[in-house]
């Protein structure tokens, strides 16, 4: 029973970190993309662009 419980505890903490780190990676990816889009369109529209 204890061994079975241990499996569920490990599963719970693994799922928690997968979701939290997965969301962090998503934010990093979206953030980099948004920053790159912003820099590009700023150059295209205003040369130096509003910063």
């Amino acid at each position: 029973m204890d061994e079975l419980n241990l499996r569920f505890i490990i599963a719970a903490y693994s799922v928690s970190w997968l979701v939290i780190l997965g969301y962090l990676m998503r934010l990093k990816r979206k953030g980099s993309q948004a920053r790159a889009d912003y820099d590009q369109i700023s150059k295209e529209t205003a040369g130096d662009g509003p910063r």
Binding site: F8, I9, Y13, V19, D37, I41, P50
Partner: protein, 238 residues
């Protein structure tokens, strides 16, 4: 000055970057809190060490509630003042809240299987939490499918404000109805051996939640700034 009266240049300005150091502190605090609570909490009389799942399940639920409270406040504020940044902040909190609600449901299922013998039952707490999750998945889908920024903001503010009303229903469900789910776990209802671990995990996950919402808000403002610049370019202005 209302947001709608701001100059095109200020609406298209890049927001300040969210502090990476704050994010590092938040994640370090979460790791420390989890290690502390796993190592120091004794086995519970009925559930044994399975009780340790509480340190991730309960704070995740609380962070979902806090996020949806932010959605409620800034959705109502958007409907009142029509400030674009209120809409972006509400949407950022909704995404984080939906993530934590999904996590709460998954952790509840992992707890339920060994504790109750089933992954899922249609009891009031589980069902109302699932409804809350689906409302905010719908909220995010709505934002993805409506192109007009003002219409998107108005509709999602209405859905966000109405959806957040489900939070007290979820919270009170274990009191209002007979449920398989136990009453709320909080420092006031717990054995003192478990309260410090729960408090530390809740504070650490709150820091992570604040970091997530701030970061998502920064991205949302950048995306809107790009839209404003593209509109300006399309109209031939700078």
């Amino acid at each position: 000055m209302p947001q709608t009266e701001l100059s095109r240049e200020s609406r298209a300005a890049a927001p300040p970057r969210t502090s990476a150091f704050f994010g590092f502190i938040a994640f370090a605090a979460l790791i420390a809190a989890q290690v502390f609570s796993i190592l120091t909490s004794p086995a519970e009389a009925d559930m044994g060490h399975l009780q340790k799942i509480m340190y991730v399940h309960v704070p995740a639920a609380w962070m979902a509630f806090i996020s949806f409270f932010v959605v409620l406040v800034f959705s109502v504020r958007y409907l009142w003042k029509k400030r674009e940044n209120d809409d972006l902040l509400a949407a950022s909190a909704a995404e984080v809240g939906a993530t934590f609600t999904g996590l709460t449901l998954m952790l509840g299922m992992i707890w339920g299987r060994p504790a109750w013998g089933v992954w899922w039952v249609w009891d009031a707490r589980l069902t109302s939490t699932l409804v809350l999750f689906l409302i905010f998945v719908g909220y995010l889908a709505l934002r993805a499918f409506v192109d007009d920024a003002e219409q998107r903001a108005r509709w999602s503010a209405a859905v966000g404000a109405i959806g957040a009303i489900n939070v007290p229903i979820v919270y009170m469900s274990v009191k209002w109805w007979r449920t398989l789910h136990q009453p709320q776990s909080s420092p006031s209802t717990l054995d003192p051996a478990y309260t410090m671990g729960l408090r530390l995990n809740a504070i650490a996950l709150l820091l992570v939640t604040i970091y997530f919402i701030r970061k998502r808000y920064e991205i949302a403002r950048l995306e809107r700034a790009v839209e404003h610049l593209a509109e300006a370019a399309a109209m031939g202005g700078k």
